[in-house]
């Protein structure tokens, strides 16, 4: 314990939220993704560091355009990041190429955000799902295809020979999920996997992912904007704003005690399903102002242009990730070291 602490302190670069554990399957360190748009450079992802342990689900939330999908794609090396490391089972994917990368990457699968357009319209459903099995010459392909179709609630007899355009949006999403599960991946990156689904199918899929996790120790990164869904599926949650990580930690801690002003605003805007409790929907607090352009982010803290607690310091200095202070000073040493809750804010809410 002491050793670890001194090591951390001596190594200034090491982000506080990264954990020292042997069961870390995926670690992303100082991930940067820039896009050239005309003469400008868009910093879609800026210095994001996070890790996911075996069998763990990390929820990734944040405003539209904050870089969630870009993080997911950068982990998959689609395309590979501008800089930073993506360590999957001890190997840095950003240093791999060609056949080695393709081999290693079969252990990582991604469900993309636009379900319908990511399916080849000319192929039959069974061929779409079997694609990976075919490329990697896996045995018993037909049986495996039936198995995963059943698992996601598609009738193999009725659906296998149809083409994607004959399915509804939600059915296409299930085809995508079946395809990604077919190869039995270690890590599944899900980009909005259930937002196109009705709540009953959504419940089925969330339960299914939970079962997969129990049964195969499936590790997941789960991008979604529905905060109730994220809470249900995640062990840990990471909150992003304008390309940066602003808060990360244990799900219950973040929902019960959001420490970053942005997280708090996000949690306060959830529409309520009880019609009596939200007569005027306008009463909900809304973030003031627009998301700034990622081509020209604010100095210091990127949230400062919309933060109700911003002070002069926030414009001058960028806040670094630190353990949430209130939670550190309470309880015994053991309890403190068990606290998994980090925030990047000069004046965290505690």
């Amino acid at each position: 314990m002491t050793d670890m602490n001194t090591e951390r302190q001596s190594d200034n670069q090491k982000p506080a939220q990264l954990r020292e554990r042997d069961d870390i399957v995926l670690r992303v360190e100082n991930l940067v993704v820039n896009f050239a748009v005309g003469k400008q450079t868009v910093q879609a992802v800026s210095n994001v560091s996070l890790d996911v342990a075996r069998g763990e689900t990390l929820g990734l939330v944040g405003e539209s355009g904050c870089g969630k999908s870009t993080v997911g794609r950068a982990i998959m090396q689609l395309p590979s990041p501008t800089s930073g490391e993506v360590i999957f089972k001890g190997q840095d994917l950003t240093r791999m190429s060609g056949e080695q990368l393709r081999q290693t990457r079969t252990g990582l699968q991604m469900i993309f955000q636009d379900p319908i357009s990511s399916l080849n319209p000319r192929r039959k459903v069974k061929d779409i799902i079997a694609e990976g099995l075919h490329i990697w010459r896996r045995p018993n392909q037909e049986a495996r295809v039936r198995e995963v179709m059943e698992a996601v609630g598609l009738d193999p007899d009725a659906a296998a020979d149809r083409r994607p355009h004959q399915f509804s949006g939600g059915q296409c999403q299930r085809i995508c999920i079946a395809r990604s599960l077919a190869l039995d991946p270690d890590v599944l990156i899900c980009d909005e996997p259930v937002s196109a689904l009705d709540v009953s199918v959504q419940a089925q899929i969330l339960n299914l992912l939970e079962d997969m996790k129990q049964r195969y120790q499936l590790t997941m990164v789960f991008v979604a904007h529905n905060l109730a869904v994220v809470k249900n599926i995640s062990d840990r949650v990471a909150v992003m704003y304008l390309g940066k990580l602003c808060e990360i930690g244990d799900t219950e801690a973040i929902y019960a005690r959001p420490a970053h002003p942005y997280t708090r605003a996000l949690l306060a805007s959830i529409p309520d399903i009880d019609p009596d409790s939200n007569l005027p929907p306008d009463h909900l607090p809304l973030l003031q102002g627009d998301l700034p352009s990622p081509a020209n982010p604010p100095s210091g803290c990127r949230f400062r242009t919309r933060c109700p607690h911003a002070q002069a310091l926030c414009a001058d200095r960028e806040p670094v990730m630190q353990a949430v202070p209130g939670e550190l000073t309470q309880g015994s040493l053991e309890q403190r070291s068990g606290k998994d809750h980090f925030v990047a804010c000069h004046f965290p809410l505690v």
Partner: protein, 361 residues
């Protein structure tokens, strides 16, 4: 602060204060050809939407919501459509039988649609400026410069930061939620009288979602725009819809003013749908109550109630006979079930316990 949406609470009770009837659909039936056989996608659907009013449509994935929406706009693929019958009246005018030319004049100004999958609704090789300006030039007679200025305003209205620069980008350069907002901007560009919004906010986080829904509410208030809001998000319909229709296997199974539906739902499918929502107040990893079994096949539908194989209340009759739409009250609440959820106490169910369970959620 403004207090516009308080007024909405009044019309939610179906008290007849809502505006003139804008859209009336009677006995709409749509069947599509597929390799697996004839798909009974929409069966005998009837409803109406008043000016300035919102009808929320919820239901099982694959239950025919999008096909219904497209058929209202006459945008179904011609070759796949085996049958479309029934009446669609827009401001009193029958539009189901119009020619493609006549329809083209209506699409945009009279009615517009936000499609479910933004990427397929946008042309990947055209800049946003082109895609946004086209309807403005065609329907509103603007010149290129005017259309461009208006297009930038529209992007700003849907909350796209840096619209002046974004307008020259291609769809793949935007995030998923931005693409969805561009599709919304295009649909709103000609001030439609009726907006059919198919999952307009699925790709949006809660803050942007709220911004968009507020924008739509404002348009409804100011221009009396009627809206068909198809969504899986029951929180959204709860707060935004005047009336809610529930679809299952191509049919409407329940329709009611929003608050009535939430408080006095009658159809077992509606109940099951509400029970499967994850609650923010529940701890992580709470097992969700999914509806057991598979959603129904719309090819060769079985006789009887389509929900019968999955319904906890099903009896023999349900497998043989199709339950017709019946009135639950005189204020616009209809359902199609032989054994509705809140039954007389004689049937062995305590309605007050059911009510408590629901309102406690």
């Amino acid at each position: 602060m403004r207090q516009p949406d308080n007024s909405k609470a009044g019309t939610q009770q179906g008290d007849g204060l809502a505006g003139k009837e804008l859209l009336r659909v009677n006995n709409l039936t749509v069947r599509l050809n597929s390799t697996a056989g004839l798909v009974h996608a929409v069966e005998d659907v009837s409803f109406s939407v008043g000016e300035g009013e919102t009808l929320g449509i919820v239901g099982e994935s694959g239950s025919g919501k999008s096909v219904m929406a497209r058929s209202l706009m006459s945008l179904l693929p011609k070759r796949a459509t085996a049958l479309r019958q029934g009446s669609i009246r827009l401001s009193g005018r029958e539009i189901a039988s119009l020619t493609e030319r006549e329809l083209q004049k209506l699409r945009g100004p009279a009615m517009a649609m936000i499609f479910q999958d933004p990427m397929t609704a946008l042309n990947p090789v055209l800049r946003l400026s082109v895609q946004l300006s086209e309807p403005l030039q065609q329907h509103l007679g603007m010149n290129r410069q005017q259309a461009r200025m208006r297009a930038i305003e529209l992007l700003e209205a849907v909350g796209i930061p840096d619209a002046v620069n974004r307008i020259d980008q291609y769809p793949h350069q935007l995030s998923g939620g931005m693409r969805q907002r561009v599709v919304i901007a295009i649909a709103l560009s000609c001030n439609p009288g009726l907006l059919i919004a198919d999952e307009p906010t699925t790709a949006l986080d809660v803050t942007v979602q709220k911004q968009i829904l507020d924008l739509l509410s404002t348009l409804q208030r100011e221009r009396r725009m009627g809206m068909l809001l198809i969504t899986h998000d029951l929180g959204v319909v709860a707060s935004r819809a005047d009336n809610i229709a529930v679809m299952y296997a191509g049919r409407l199974v329940e329709i009611a003013p929003a608050r009535t539906l939430f408080k006095f739902m009658q159809h077992p499918y509606t109940e099951a749908l509400f029970n499967s929502i994850p609650r923010i107040s529940d701890p992580s990893h709470t097992r969700l109550q999914a509806i057991p079994g598979r959603p129904p096949q719309l090819v060769k539908p079985a006789p009887g109630c389509a929900f019968a194989p999955r319904c906890p209340y099903a009896q023999q009759r349900c497998h043989r006979e199709r339950p017709p739409m019946v009135k639950a009250d005189d204020a616009g609440h209809l359902h199609a079930c032989f054994y509705p959820v809140i039954r007389p106490v004689a049937a062995g169910v305590d309605p007050s316990a059911l009510m408590q369970k629901r309102s406690g959620q």
